[in-house]
């Protein structure tokens, strides 16, 4: 029972922290581009305003309901992985559920977007599908290799990455970091929305609370992937006993999340947007590397 409460607290913190981090990222980006930038709380203000707005029904029920599905998918996924407090709701095979939730969130986003029948949304969905087929497969494979090396389908047993110190685990962790970057919809991979090209693409027909839900789930997804990266590196190794220990752990975790987000932001500042074929080529090359890693893992390296 206490585990469930702690996991819920985790997600509630993430709900606030995620837009806050986006605000900080915007500020960093602005400073790197010779701009003053919006206040750090801007993203929270934006979301707050969007949540309070009227929800517009465009005539398609699927379009109307998918943002909630997308959001709840990410919400549940966050319950499964340990974040600020190192507890989670776990059971055998939860890693499969996590992968399922992540891919179904993309799928529902695309479904909702397509059902608006806007040509820009269709183009954006087209791109999102192409991109996420590649990246979701790689995500599954890279986690799969780690699962194979660890010999467990329980997500908390996967953390931390070492021991065992095997090259295939390290390499697939690197692939995982790249996928985390792609999945968090950052430049040069924000092709499905690409504001100057297709005017927001998959997001174009959403407004008000529905748009807020989708944006919020994108921010949460960023936190989710960053948490996974941190867990792979440090899970359990910095936990002290007692409630004070948990507090210290939370603070360290937050600091690490912050570092990941800064690194990703700095990369983003120095990038232009890929065209979809360039992005696919990039993923293709990554898949070749992944193939080699799988072979390595099969032979026990």
């Amino acid at each position: 029972m206490i585990r469930i409460i702690f996991a819920l607290i985790n997600v509630l913190i993430a709900l606030i922290i995620a837009p806050l981090f986006d605000g900080i990222e915007r500020k960093i980006k602005a400073r790197l581009q010779n701009r003053r930038g919006p206040p750090i709380l801007q993203t929270i203000y934006d979301l707050g305003k969007l949540y309070r707005k009227e929800n517009i029904f465009l005539g398609s029920r699927l379009h109307f309901i998918t943002p909630i599905i997308v959001f709840s998918n990410i919400f549940i996924a966050l319950l499964i992985i340990p974040t600020f407090i190192p507890v989670s709701i776990y059971f055998i095979g939860d890693i499969i559920l996590l992968l399922y939730l992540l891919s179904s969130s993309s799928l529902f986003l695309v479904l909702g977007s397509i059902s608006s029948r806007n040509p820009f949304a269709i183009t954006g969905s087209n791109r999102e599908i192409m991109l996420s087929i590649g990246s979701k497969l790689l995500l599954a494979l890279s986690i799969g290799v780690i699962v194979w090396n660890k010999g467990s389908l329980l997500i908390t047993r996967l953390f931390p990455l070492v021991p065992p110190l095997v090259p295939s685990s390290i390499l697939s962790f690197i692939v995982f970091i790249i996928i985390a970057y792609i999945e968090s919809m950052r430049l040069p991979f924000d092709i499905p929305e690409a504001e100057p090209e297709i005017a927001g693409g998959i997001l174009i027909e959403y407004s008000g609370p529905n748009l807020a839900l989708i944006l919020h789930s994108i921010y949460l997804k960023r936190i989710l992937f960053a948490s996974l990266i941190i867990n792979f590196l440090f899970y359990g190794s910095i936990l002290f006993p007692g409630y004070l220990g948990i507090l210290i752990y939370s603070i360290i975790f937050l600091a690490l999340l912050f570092i990941v987000s800064i690194v990703f932001t700095v990369i983003e500042v120095f990038c232009g947007r890929y065209r979809i074929d360039h992005a696919l080529k990039f993923i293709k090359n990554l898949s070749l590397l992944m193939g080699v890693i799988i072979l390595l893992a099969l032979y026990g390296y």
């Binding site: 980006k29 790197l32 581009q33 010779n34 701009r35 029948r117 806007n118 040509p119 820009f120 269709i122 183009t123 087209n126 791109r127 430049l187 040069p188 924000d190 092709i191 690409a194 504001e195 100057p196 090209e197 297709i198 005017a199 927001g200 500042v269 120095f270 990038c271 232009g272 947007r273 890929y274 065209r275 979809i276 074929d277 360039h278």
Partner: protein, 560 residues
């Protein structure tokens, strides 16, 4: 060498004399009154054989002067340094003349504009549809005729004809396309365009199958306004407002046209100041364009950097003119403010810093792999197509055409400075980026030369009225290409006819061609690569535009 040029020009005049009487209306501009019968032959000679290019056509209602309409086709001969204008009289009874579009495809829009505004029909025009007037404009009312009062509000039609105007096809053609491919509308309002304009892209997945362009949505009736109620010295301030980015080049061209027509000699210091501001404006415009281009490529850091550099240029402009943009400096016969000696050092220092910083940034940016990948071999316009469509400025120079008004028809103070004209043969978006990059550096070089050699003369020419019924051509090299102004002087201190033709008018016609077969993701950067200035193109008439009803229909069909 100079004598060979003169003998060449004599030969040219002799050659042209065979078709009609050649009059030199002023330095560097020839007018020939020709018979329609020779029009095709002569256009072919001027555009293709003599290596010139077609600039624009102007229609004039000359009934109060000589009882007929007039059509002027203007050609540029870079090799001879001449503007050649073919003048055709169109009788009021028949109201038709021969079209030159079959010989020079670039004449398409200009002739349709004359059809819209003066009601002169062009025989054999391949697409005799409306270009500028909206669907609901009543038939038989031609706004640029002298008997149409400038303050008249024509009552719009209730029923809208099923005529596609502005696009390059018939209705049937469009219907077939839109039934087979997804129509992606870019515009009239789209984040990639900063002005209302409409591109219709037919897309199969991510590939663009076909593209249509529809413009002229924000006409402002400048020509009519200028002819009807403004005086000579008021028009420079109207002309400057044709465009927010390259306004100064427009009023310089206008002033030159009137000065040429009236034979006014502008003092040298005024010419130097004009050149100085024109080059500042070019740097400003190119930096702004770089920012927009980077933004479209998703590279917002480059966007912010170039726009910060642009801030320095605006500070200099403020120091020189009192305005950061829209300088308001030109009058006929000179300029309104002097350059103070104590500012020269400051300007040079700022430009030196800007040059260094700009070079550094751009070298880093051009070494960015994904940016080069996004621009290389994208939106190619071959040299032949560029010639055919009469594209201008950096757009033409990136396709291997060596054309620059500053070099071949020197105006203002350009004959006193030494500079290079960057030309590239690739014809892709990257070439356009690089041409503009080099042009900025050249402009800084020109400004330094101008500041070093400022002569000491008055700022204003003394002149005694402007004679009527004179023709004048004023041409400048705007940041986007050749800016052509044509003036016929009138009585009561007013122009009889003023026709500005901004470079984007010609350049935009090449966009649908460049878009075909490209990726949808590249469409914004291809459209932007010509640095389209829609406000320059739309300057003609005030109408309450209700945009294409038919287009909305076809979109609805897709939406089901």
């Amino acid at each position: 060498m100079h004598s060979t040029v003169i003998s060449k020009c004599k030969e040219l005049i002799e050659l042209l004399n065979r078709y009609g009487r050649v009059i030199e209306i002023h330095d560097g501009a020839l007018l020939i009154e020709v018979d329609e019968y020779y029009l095709h032959e002569l256009s072919e000679l001027l555009h293709w054989k003599l290596n010139g290019y077609y600039t624009t056509s102007i229609g004039v209602d000359e009934r109060p002067l000589n009882g007929s309409f007039g059509v002027y086709h203007a050609f540029v001969l870079d090799d001879y340094g001449y503007y050649v204008i073919l003048y055709i009289k169109v009788s009021t009874g028949l109201l038709k003349t021969t079209s030159i579009t079959p010989v020079i495809p670039g004449a398409n829009w200009a002739e349709r504009e004359i059809m819209d505004f003066l009601g002169i029909r062009f025989i054999d025009h391949p697409e005799p549809y409306r270009l500028i007037l909206p669907f609901d404009w009543p038939d038989g009312i031609y706004p640029l005729r002298k008997d149409f009062p400038y303050n008249c509000k024509a009552s719009v039609k209730d029923k809208i004809d099923e005529v596609v105007h502005g696009s390059t096809s018939t209705v049937k053609d469009v219907e077939e396309l839109s039934s087979r491919y997804t129509l992606v509308p870019i515009g009239p309002y789209h984040p990639a365009l900063h002005e209302p304009e409409y591109f219709e892209l037919y897309v199969d997945g991510e590939k663009i199958i076909d593209a249509r362009y529809k413009g002229f949505m924000v006409h402002r009736g400048m020509e009519k306004l200028a002819e009807s109620r403004l005086t000579y010295n008021q028009i420079p301030f109207l002309a400057e407002r044709i465009c927010g980015i390259c306004g100064f080049t427009h009023n310089t061209a206008y002033c030159q046209a009137v000065e040429n027509a009236a034979g006014i000699d502008v003092p040298e210091r005024a010419l130097f100041i004009r050149s100085l501001l024109l080059e500042l404006e070019r740097i400003h415009s190119h930096l702004l364009w770089f920012g927009v281009a980077f933004h479209l490529l998703g590279f917002d850091t480059g966007f912010m950097i170039t726009w910060r550099l642009r801030e320095d240029i605006m500070n200099i402009a403020e120091l020189l003119t009192g305005n950061r943009k829209t300088y308001g400096m030109n009058l006929i016969g000179g300029v309104r403010r002097d350059v103070k000696e104590e500012n020269i050092e400051y300007i040079k220092r700022v430009l030196k810093n800007l040059e260094n910083e700009f070079r550094d940034y751009m070298e880093n940016i051009f070494s960015m792999n994904e940016l080069v990948k996004r621009t290389k071999e994208i939106g190619i316009l071959s040299k032949e197509d560029a010639r055919k469509l009469c594209v201008l400025g950096p757009h033409a120079r990136a396709s291997g055409l060596k054309t620059d008004v500053r070099k071949y028809h020197p105006y203002a103070a350009y004959k006193y400075v030494d500079f290079r004209v960057p030309v590239r043969d690739e014809g892709d978006v990257l070439a356009r980026l690089l041409v503009r990059y080099e042009e900025i550096l050249e402009s800084i070089n020109i400004i330094n030369q101008l500041l070093d050699n400022l002569p000491n003369t008055p700022l204003q020419a003394e002149y005694d009225g402007i004679p009527e019924k004179r023709l004048g051509v004023g041409v400048t090299e705007a940041p986007r290409g050749e800016d052509f102004h044509f003036v016929i002087t009138g009585r009561d201190n007013k122009v009889y006819r003023w026709r500005p033709r901004a470079p984007s008018y010609n350049n935009l016609q090449s966009v649908p061609l460049m878009l075909r077969g490209e990726y949808l993701a590249d469409a914004p950067i291809i459209i932007a690569s010509i640095d389209p200035c829609f406000s320059c193109t739309d300057h003609v008439i005030v109408v309450d535009v209700r945009n294409g009803t038919r287009k909305r229909l076809s979109l609805n069909r897709i939406l089901g």
